[in-house]
Amino acid sequence: MSRTEFMQGNAACAEGALAAGCRFFGGYPITPSTEIAETMARKLPKAGGVFISMEDELASIAAVIGAAWTGVRAMTATSGPGFSLMMENIGYAAMTETPCVVVNIQRGGPSTGQPTRAAQGDMLQCRFGSHGDYSTIALTPNSVQEMFDLTAKAFDLADRYRVPTFLMSDEIVGHMRERVTIPDAVEVERPRPLAEGALPFEAGDDGTPGFAPFGSGRAVHVTGLTHDERGYPDTTDPEAHDKLVRRLVAKIESARRDIADYEVVNPDAETVFVTYGPPSRTVEQVMRDRPDDSIGHLRLRVVWPFPEFALKVFPNARTFLMPELNMGQMVREVQRHVDQPVISIPKIGGELHTPAELVRVLEAYR
């Protein structure tokens, strides 16, 4: 039995986390993400978990990483400026292979920008925002139901690949209210335990080491310095750095087919919309209004690692159209994987594209 409720996207995100077994939330208030913290503050203590309002976003992600190393599922939620503040420790989580979830309810930027309006302006920041080379996973819900489902899924991916995983939502989905089906139980996949005799950062064939949380008696030294498989600093050997960083990137990039999650409509289409997050809702409206097999739609629920093979699902595609709530961030990633023209349909200012706006571009390019 599951139950159906009418709720806000941010509340559904918190519910998804709770259902997935999240038991630690450290955060700092920021519009438009605060309802996630508020819901967690109310519900986590009753679920035997810990909610703590930290002094800033740097502390929030730090506390989440500390909690994650004790073996609990831990998350934080923020918006653009707070996300920027978290970047150093997000790199630390990538380097130390700490499983954790960061929710970004995006708003208009740069800087303080438009706190109460929607944007998708942090899509490259979530991939490249910290210093050095690394790779992460980013999910992009387009409905309140997906706020629940993808938040729960983010914990599984974080645990499986031992990587900070992002839920890249936005003010529209965060604040909209829709019907959500909440299952009684969510299946949970925890990190593979560190095998007896294995070194703490010794990766198997899949590139991800087993996990020995604090208190399990394995005396794991965790450091953000370049380290060997024992976890000991090894900061000047070019080979040690090359081996570690290549593995951190490869464990995610080589799993892109397993991590990928997308929807395809009309694979024989000649004009194909590529979307993620709420612009997909406008495309769905356009396609409902004008049933036409020559118009296709690829909707990404995972944007990083980028599933370039999904673009090959449209063998007859002559043009790709990409509406985004930014000045064209993910469009670059599409362009570098296809030979056809990729038309960016950027929109900033806080409002979603209207169907008429997309139809105008559609008519111009088909």
Partner: protein
């Protein structure tokens, strides 16, 4: 005194400079842990960045060597998620009081049940001897070539004001007293802050006519004044000698604390 069971033998030799006081403070802290009877698999050491923060890497427990200034925020997550684990933080004056200042006051305010040992050498050691928030006025460093022009933070007073349940200050000369303070701090529920002033002959002493290790330790010893003596001088209306700092227990109280195992 030494707790050899706690050392990560395969990490030696360590990276500390000749004459550094950090080893003394690690020894005193491990002696405290031993005295408490804490087990290795239930004790976690956390640190930020800098000379002090390399200490957990030499200790045979789970340990978290984090980002600059953030050790207390990481430690808060560890302790709040697993109150049954003992959490000890090593930090330095730059790590704790400059970049980590906000985390420091808030960890003290929350009074999270952990032990924070600050190796205060009055300088940024690892980056080559730049002035820190505890560099004394007039002292020479690579970024204060004409003498430090800013007032210094009193870290222990700051911890008292911010709400920590236990605060003490000693030096690398006061080995027995420092160990006792660590133990008392570990016994006190809530945040225990122990400032250990220590010598840095390489990057502090060299620029300040204290190049020899004995000279630096003697400088610490001779400028340390027991809290009780300072209080007596003040009560009697007598002047407190210039350049002295108080040592001893500054506060032991039982304000509400977080993360205390029940």
């Amino acid at each position: 005194m030494i707790a050899p069971d706690w050392f990560r033998d395969d990490r030696l030799p360590h990276i500390y400079c000749t004459g550094c006081g950090n080893g003394t403070i690690i020894n005193c802290t491990l002696a405290g842990v031993e005295e408490m009877g804490w087990k290795r698999n239930e004790t976690v050491f956390v640190s930020g960045i800098g000379c002090s923060s390399r200490a957990p890497g030499y200790i045979l427990t789970d340990s978290l060597h984090t980002t600059h200034g953030r050790a207390l925020a990481f430690a808060t997550g560890v302790k709040m998620a697993r109150p049954d684990l003992h959490v000890v933080v090593f930090t330095g004056d730059g790590d704790l009081a400059a970049i980590g200042g906000n985390h420091f006051i808030h960890a003290c305010r929350r009074n999270v049940d952990m032990t924070v040992v600050c190796m205060n050498n009055h300088i940024y050691g690892m980056t080559g001897g730049q002035g820190s928030p505890t560099t004394p006025p007039g002292a020479i460093s690579t970024t204060t070539p004409y003498g430090m022009s800013e007032p210094a933070f009193d870290l222990a007073e700051l911890a008292v004001a911010a709400g920590a349940n236990y605060v003490a200050r000693w030096t690398s000369y006061h080995v027995k007293e420092l160990t006792k303070a660590v133990v008392a701090g570990m016994q006190t529920p809530g945040l225990a802050f122990i400032e250990a002033r220590t010598q840095c002959p390489t990057n502090y002493g060299r620029h300040n006519k204290l190049r020899s290790v004995p000279a630096m330790i003697e400088h610490l010893r001779s400028h340390a004044m027991l809290v009780a003596k300072r209080d007596r001088l003040v009560a009697e209306g007598k002047p407190v000698p210039e350049g002295t700092f108080t040592v001893g227990e500054l506060v032991r109280r039982s304000r509400p604390a977080m993360g205390v195992q029940r």
